[in-house]
């Protein structure tokens, strides 16, 4: 088991502080979703944990060793930046081999792992944004590490490839800590077990995602008949009948009522993500 600890960390760029007095301790292997609006400090947090940014004050410790000063500890951390960092003039295979020679691992294996074989001999500059992202993610899996810092790993990726990467990370998270930032709230609640909410450079909340409850839920129902005569629902967006309930259990009762009235329900879904409210609350308020 590994431990990541941040003690009173202040960090930033050009003497301007972005992270303020950040304290965080993570011990359980799992996927921790880092959530926050643009500019909140997510990337700065990842860079500081990776030892790329030297904090102005405070300590980042991984398994008790200082990340900033210990090169050996930094080698145990895998960091995926939102910059692709793949030499554009190389072929995909050569670019991955270039990195494999620096850190170990096999380009062949990650090409197979992420189903990139068909791109093997293509020049990186000729790839689409999504393909470049897949190659960029592949370099992170060249060698297994003890801590993974994934800064928006699925941005620019289609749902199939996003799932592929999430599955690999879920597998890795069985005995490792994975920090995962995303703007996709559904993805966040789907993959993560814990939430780290960042607001204005400080950690506003750390909580298990399963504990995050809303006061009320908006539920959308699609059915073959008009259900507004049976339950208190209004015709809403995208063909849904929309209603507000106070708990998931109440939604179950409504479904039961509709079935008892012989209504064929084709779809029933929660219209808001539990993380939506939290995310909205962290966004800066316009003056």
């Amino acid at each position: 088991m590994h431990t990541l600890e941040l003690r009173n960390v202040n960090a930033g760029y050009n003497k301007e502080t972005v992270l303020r007095d950040v304290n965080l301790t993570i011990q359980e292997p799992s996927i921790y979703v880092v959530l926050g609006p643009n500019g909140a400090g997510k990337t700065t947090l990842f860079r500081t944990i990776a030892g790329i940014l030297e904090p102005y004050s405070g300590d980042v410790l991984f398994d008790g060793e200082n990340v900033t000063s210990s090169r050996d500890v930094r080698k145990r951390i895998n960091y995926l930046s939102h910059h692709n960092a793949i030499p554009e003039e190389m072929t995909v295979y050569n670019a991955l081999t270039f990195y494999a020679n620096m850190q170990g691992g096999s380009a062949e294996e990650v090409l197979a792992l992420l189903h990139l074989e068909e791109l093997r001999d293509k020049k990186v500059s000729d790839l689409s944004q999504g393909q470049k992202k897949r190659v960029s993610v592949a370099k992170v899996f060249l060698r297994e590490r003890d801590l993974y810092l994934m800064d928006e790993p699925t941005s620019n990726l289609d749902p199939g490839y996003s799932k592929e990467i999430r599955d690999i990370l879920l597998q890795l998270s069985k005995d490792r800590i994975v920090l995962y930032s995303t703007h996709n709230l559904y993805e966040a609640s789907d993959i993560g077990t814990d939430l780290i909410l960042i607001k204005d450079g400080t950690i506003a909340l750390t909580e298990q995602i399963s504990n995050i409850k809303l006061k009320e839920y908006r539920v959308g129902i699609k059915a073959t008949t008009d259900i507004s005569q049976i339950v208190d629902a209004e015709r809403g967006e995208q063909g849904y009948y929309v209603m507000t309930v106070s708990s998931p259990e109440e939604a179950g009762h409504i479904l039961k009522t509709l079935i008892e009235h012989g209504v064929l329900v084709t779809e029933m879904r929660q219209l808001e993500n539990p993380l939506q409210e939290l995310f909205e609350n962290t966004r800066p308020v316009k003056a």
Binding site: G51, E54, M90
Partner: protein
């Protein structure tokens, strides 16, 4: 065995940076070859002149102008290594340096890789110039001593100038807040400025004095580049290498 050595060389970070630099911009090779060819020509004209004039110190005074080839070779070396500097800026802007840092490297490790690439290029250039100088001297049935002396001086000055130029430009590029393409002309201007004494002195100083000035210049610039390398590795924070 040979294949193994070639494979190992192909994996060398310095060699990879050289290849990547030329993939980014190869036109500098042409300019470097033209300048080196002129340097070889000047050296051998001086050598021929040495052969035609009876011995004595006057001969050296007369041939000091041919030591212009030393400065020209150093400038050719600067041109040849420009793609390495361009690659450094390119890698910084594209997050490659950030990824290097994430692998546990520090600023000094990264600077060393690009500096090594520059040094490899200079060594290749000065070796080629030395071989060409000797070959031309032998073909013209001249003495090989002067071409070798000129080549050795050119090697010393080229190595020190390119080392200083590379480290200075990497430090400058790291400290730039804005993404700018001004590093290329600035690097070339800095290189040209460093070799200025090697251009000026042959016109009015005797041979032996020019040799001493060139050697002294090479030593001073080498010392400066070592100091700058040590300072920049310590004073420039890692954040300066981020995109």
């Amino acid at each position: 065995m040979t294949n193994h050595v070639v494979r190992q060389l192909g994996r060398d970070p310095g060699i990879i940076i050289v290849k990547r630099g030329f993939a980014l911009s190869s036109s500098y090779i042409v300019f470097a070859i033209i300048l080196s060819s002129i340097a070889i020509l000047i050296t051998n004209i001086g050598n021929a002149f040495l052969r035609g004039v009876p011995g004595g110190s006057d001969v050296y005074a007369g041939t000091s102008i041919s030591l212009l080839s030393v400065g020209l070779t150093a400038l050719a070396a600067g041109l040849l290594t420009t793609p390495v500097l361009l690659l450094y800026v390119y890698d910084k802007n594209n997050g490659v340096l950030e990824y290097f840092l994430s692998l546990g490297m520090n600023q000094g490790d990264i600077y060393k890789r690009y500096l090594k690439a520059g040094v490899i290029l200079v060594v290749l250039l000065v070796l080629a110039v030395a071989v060409a100088n000797v070959a031309v001297a032998l073909i013209l049935r001249g003495d090989v001593i002067f071409p070798l002396e000129a080549s050795a001086l050119a090697a010393a000055l080229s190595l020190s100038v390119v080392s200083f130029d590379t480290v200075a430009m990497m430090a400058f590029s790291s400290l730039q807040k804005q993404r700018a393409g001004a590093n290329q002309p600035l690097g070339l201007a800095l290189g040209a400025l460093l070799v200025l004494p090697a251009y000026m002195t042959p016109y009015f100083l005797p041979f032996i004095v020019v040799v001493v000035v060139d050697l002294a210049e090479a030593v001073v610039i080498a010392a400066l580049s070592i100091a700058l390398f040590l300072l920049s590795s310590r004073l420039i924070r890692r954040e300066k290498l981020l995109p």
